[in-house]
């Protein structure tokens, strides 16, 4: 016998997982100290778990951070699987199918995340560059004045700062 398997997308970034769960209509809810007692689950819940609107014999299926990955905890036989969606329009799908959907949505969210972080990094580097230029300018002006130069500041055709220092000897 041979087999081909595909593992689920590793869900490692909580923000992306929440976004993906929203996208597939799983209505994610983060368990906090304040709502921990309001949700019952036979296996128990802990602060930090992410509930979905999917339920089974044990209660709401939920993601828990195990090591560096968020893992879906559910009844292996999916006994009494159902959706507790208030709109009740969505039908329960098997866990494998659900994870595939979440995986696809996670990938989309992750690509957006990469684009956003790249933009943030670009902005950060640009701010650093401007600060470096400004520090160089201020240092040069201060030192020139301390050495008796008069300083005239202009900008050249490339938009670069130009300092013309003159002194009589």
């Amino acid at each position: 016998m041979s087999a081909v398997i595909k593992t689920v997308t590793p869900f490692v970034i909580e923000e992306m997982l929440m976004e993906a769960l929203q996208a597939v209509g799983a209505e994610p809810v983060k368990i906090t100290v304040s709502n921990l007692q309001t949700v019952s689950h036979r296996g128990g819940l802990v602060v930090g778990d992410i509930l979905t609107n999917r339920s089974d014999y044990y209660g709401p299926q939920h993601f828990r951070l195990e090591g560096d990955r968020w893992i879906l905890r559910h009844d292996s036989s999916e006994m009494n699987g159902r959706i507790s969606n208030r709109l009740a329009e969505k039908h329960y799908s098997r866990v494998g199918r659900f994870l595939e959907e979440v995986g696809s949505a996670y990938e989309v969210a992750y690509q957006g995340y990469l684009a956003r972080t790249a933009e943030q990094e670009r902005i950060r580097l640009e701010e650093e560059r401007k600060a470096r230029v400004e520090a160089t300018r201020q240092q040069a002006i201060a030192k020139a004045r301390s050495q008796g130069y008069s300083v005239k500041e202009t900008t050249n055709s490339k938009g670069q700062i130009q300092l013309v220092l003159t002194r009589m000897v």
């Binding site: 560059r129 470096r132 230029v133 520090a135 160089t136 300018r137 240092q139 040069a140 030192k143 020139a144 050495q147 130069y149 050249n156 670069q160 700062i161 130009q162 300092l163 013309v164 220092l165 003159t166 002194r167 009589m168 000897v169």
Partner: protein, 69 residues
């Protein structure tokens, strides 16, 4: 009274290009060193013909002073 002049251009990455005039001989480099602390940061020095002429204006270019911030 002779005038000493240094033109500093600050590049987009914070590097400096410096051009001097009115200095005699090596004094232009000394003046730049006093002003910019050149040790270990100069990537290129181009001495002009004037640099070698005594009692005349000297022009020196010090380019791309990387790391001067």
């Amino acid at each position: 009274m002779p005038e000493q002049k240094i033109t500093l251009t600050i590049n987009d990455d914070g590097a400096i290009t410096a051009k001097t005039s009115g200095f005699k001989g090596e004094s232009c480099l000394e003046a730049l060193d006093e002003l910019l602390n050149l040790e270990g940061v100069v990537s290129n020095v181009k001495k002009t013909d004037e640099y070698h002429q005594e009692q005349t204006q000297h022009t020196n270019r010090v380019q791309s002073l990387k790391g001067k911030s």
